[in-house]
Symmetry: C3
Subunit: 204 residues, 3 copies
Amino acid sequence: MFRLIPRQEKFFDHFKEAAQNALGGAQALKEMFDHYRDPQESWKRIVDFEHEGDKITHRIMRMLNQTFITPIDREDIHALTTALDNVMDAIEAAASRMVLYKIEGVTPEAKKLCAIIVTSAEQMVKAVSHMPKLEDVEEHCIEINRLENAADEIYREATAALFDGERPPLDVIKWKEIYEILETATDRCEDVANIVESIALKNA
Amino acid sequence: MFRLIPRQEKFFDHFKEAAQNALGGAQALKEMFDHYRDPQESWKRIVDFEHEGDKITHRIMRMLNQTFITPIDREDIHALTTALDNVMDAIEAAASRMVLYKIEGVTPEAKKLCAIIVTSAEQMVKAVSHMPKLEDVEEHCIEINRLENAADEIYREATAALFDGERPPLDVIKWKEIYEILETATDRCEDVANIVESIALKNA
Amino acid sequence: MFRLIPRQEKFFDHFKEAAQNALGGAQALKEMFDHYRDPQESWKRIVDFEHEGDKITHRIMRMLNQTFITPIDREDIHALTTALDNVMDAIEAAASRMVLYKIEGVTPEAKKLCAIIVTSAEQMVKAVSHMPKLEDVEEHCIEINRLENAADEIYREATAALFDGERPPLDVIKWKEIYEILETATDRCEDVANIVESIALKNA
C-alpha cells in the first residue's frame, strides 16, 4: 500500500522552508550586530544561509518544471520564490557592507533595525505557513506592513542623525547605505506579504 | 423600489478617491516648496494626506475581501491600490527629508520637480477616472511617461549642478537624496499608469 | 497565392529587435568606457539607441492595441516590453552620468562592469529569441542570473575601494552612483529573464 503525497503540499513546504531560512539569516544578522565580535566570520555564516536559500530556490524551480498541475498559478510560484530569495539577499548585503566598509562599531539604530528585520521575518514565516487562505495570512501581512513603517521611521531618524554630528562625509556615506539596506530588508518582507496576499485573493 | 448599485462602480470610485488624495498631497508639497515658510507645519499637512490615503487603501482592501465578483481581477485591484499608495508615500518622504535634514532654503530645481509631480498626479487622476477602457486612459498614460522623462532631465541637471558649486559634501548628499525622492514620485505615477494600461489591456 | 503571416511571430520578432537594440546600446557603452575619447559623442550615440528603443516600444504597443488574439497574454507583452526598455534606459543613464559629472578617466572596475553588461545583454537576446519554450530559454536565464551576481561582486569591491583611497568625498559620491547604475543594468537584464521565465511557465 502506498500514499500519493499531493504535489501542492510540497510546494507550500518549500515556501515555508525558504521563509524559515531567511529568518535564520535575519537572526544571524541580529547576532552579528548585537555582539559585533568577528564581523568577517558572522558574514560568512550569513553567506551560508544565502547559499542554502539559493538551493531551495533551485529545488522549487526544478519541481515547478516537472509538475503539470500546480496548486496555485505557476507564475505566482515563481514570483513568491523570487521574493523570498530577495529577503535573504538584502540581509546578506547588509552584512557584507559592514565588512567591506571596515565598520568598526555598531550604532544603536542599526541594532534596532536588525531586531525589526527578525520580527518581520517571523511574521513572514507565519504568513507563508498559513497560505493560501486569506483570513489566515492577513493579520501577518498587516503586521509586516506595520513593521516596515516602524523601520522606515528609525531609518529616517538614524540618517538625519548622521548629519547632526561631527562624522566625516565618507563615514556618512557608508552608514547611510547600511541603514538603507537594513530598511530595504523590511521592504522585501513586505513584497513577500504583498505576493502572499495577492495569491490569497486570486484563490479566494 | 430600490436600485442595486453595482459593486464595480464602487471600486472605481475608490481608485479615483485615492488618486485625488495623492493629487492633494502633491499640491501641498508644491505649496511647501514654493513658499517654504513653516516646513514642519507643511510636512504635518502632507502626513494628513498620507493617513487619509491609508484609510482609502484599507477601505478598498476590506471591500475586496467582502466582494465575490469583482469588475477586474482581484490581484489587479490589489496592485493598483498599492501603486496609488506608493505615490503618496514618495510625496510624504520628500517632505520629511526637508525637515529631518534641516534644509533652510529651496532650490529652483526642486520647485520645478514639485510642479511636475502635481501635473503628473493630475494626469494620474484622469487616467484612473477613465478606467478601464484603453482608448480613454492611454493619452494620460503617455503624458505621465513624458512627465517622468522631463523630471529625470531636471533631476540629472540638478544633481550635476550640486557638484559644480562650492557646496560642502554633506549638503550634496542631502540634496541628492531629496532630488532622487522627488524624481521617484514621478516614477511612482508611471507605475500607476503602467498598471492602469495593463488592466485596460487585460480587459480589452 | 499569398501567405498569411501569423501575428504571434511578429510580436516575438519585435521583442528580439528590442533586445538586440539594447545589446547595441550595451556595446556602445563598453566602447565608450574602453576608449573614453569623446564622452559627449559616445553618450549621443547611446541616446540614439535609446530613441530607437522607444520607437520599438511604441510599435509593439500599437500592434498590441490592434491585435485581437495575442500569442501570449496581453499584460505579459506589456511587461516584457517595459522591461526591455528599462535595460536600455539604465545603459543610457550610466553614459549620461559620465558626461554630467565631468568624469575625466575610467576605472578598471567600471570597464569590467561594462563587459558584463554586454555579455548579459547577449544572453538576453538569446533568451528572448528562444521564447516561449521553457527548456530553450532557461539556460540563458540562469546565465543572466550568474552574471548579475558577478556584477554585484565587482560593484561591492569597487565601491569599497572608493573609501580606501585618497579620493575626495564628492568624487566618491559620483563614482558610487556610476557603479550603482552599471550594476542596475545587469539587474534590469535579470528582470527581463524573470519575465521571460514567467511567460514560459505560464505557457508550459
